[in-house]
């Protein structure tokens, strides 16, 4: 089928952007949670 490869490329690229963005949110969230835990424990120790 003519141009099927272009259609597949568009869908692959489009959904890859959404997926990578979603993963980046999840990763940043985990990093922040770890940082918050670290800060909380260091604050707790200093009290």
């Amino acid at each position: 089928m003519k141009n099927l490869d272009s259609v597949l490329a568009a869908y692959l690229a489009g959904w890859a952007i959404f997926f990578l963005y979603y993963v980046s949110i999840a990763r940043r969230m985990n990093a922040l949670r770890e940082e918050i835990e670290r800060l909380k424990s260091s604050l707790h120790r200093s009290k």
Binding site: S6, I25, M29, L39
Partner: protein, 225 residues
């Protein structure tokens, strides 16, 4: 973690659902053929980006008047999510254009203004990364966000106001425009699914921003001690 897995599962179902509607239910368009199937990704992404930038604009206005951090969090979240959607538009557009127009890109009003929109919201995020003081960062980016949103109506109306290489609107486009009923149903359902995706991403990004604010608060406490 459970929420992350659930979110990813929803995304997977959305992909499968969109693919089924676009490739099996909706008929193949006569003049362009199978390449027109990109429409079911390209147009909902464009409209979702406008919705996200609209939310950003509203949040920016609210921040300027109320100065509450939650509006700043919503503003930056919507700007980033809108940027993801508009990036999909800018990637899928040329892939669709090449077999149909014979060129990947042309600097017509619609394409240029869309590219400018992308640059404006990239600048919005860059501006935020350059300002460290939270109140100053929130106010300056809110003012810039209000300015950036002015490009959204220009992008939307560009194909009505000027002669462009980009096709005329098929939805709400006036006499002679319109979609086959099965294409219209598919398009509307795909758009509903994209709205779900928009809400999912916006919700996740907003939580991230709220968490960042908590962390900055804790950091300040740690510095004081």
């Amino acid at each position: 973690m459970l929420k992350t897995i659930l979110g990813a599962a929803i995304l997977f179902v959305l992909i499968a659902f969109t693919a089924y509607l676009a490739f099996h239910y909706a008929p193949v368009e006569k003049s362009m053929g199978i390449i027109q199937k990109i429409f079911y990704l390209h147009l909902p992404s464009a409209l979702s980006s406008f919705v996200a930038f609209g939310v950003c604009f509203y949040a920016n206005l609210m921040y300027v008047f109320k100065r509450q951090p939650k509006w700043d969090w919503l503003g930056v979240s919507a700007a980033e999510v809108g940027l993801a959607f508009i990036s999909v538009v800018l990637v899928t557009g040329p892939i669709w254009a090449h077999p149909v127009w014979g060129i990947w890109w042309t600097w017509d009003a619609r394409l240029t203004l869309t590219f400018v929109l992308w640059l404006l919201y990239i600048s919005y995020l860059l501006l935020r990364s350059m300002l460290e003081e939270p109140d100053k960062r929130a106010l300056f980016s809110a003012l810039f966000g209000i300015f950036a949103f002015l490009d959204v109506p220009l992008v939307y109306f560009s194909i009505r106001w000027w002669r462009t290489q980009h096709p005329q609107p098929v939805i709400l486009g006036g006499p002679g425009s319109g979609l086959d009923p099965r294409m219209r149903v598919s398009y509307l359902l795909v758009w509903a699914a994209f709205t779900g995706l928009l809400v999912l991403l916006l919700n996740g990004r907003y939580k991230l921003e709220a968490l960042r604010a908590s962390m900055e608060e804790l950091r300040r406490e740690a510095e004081v001690q």
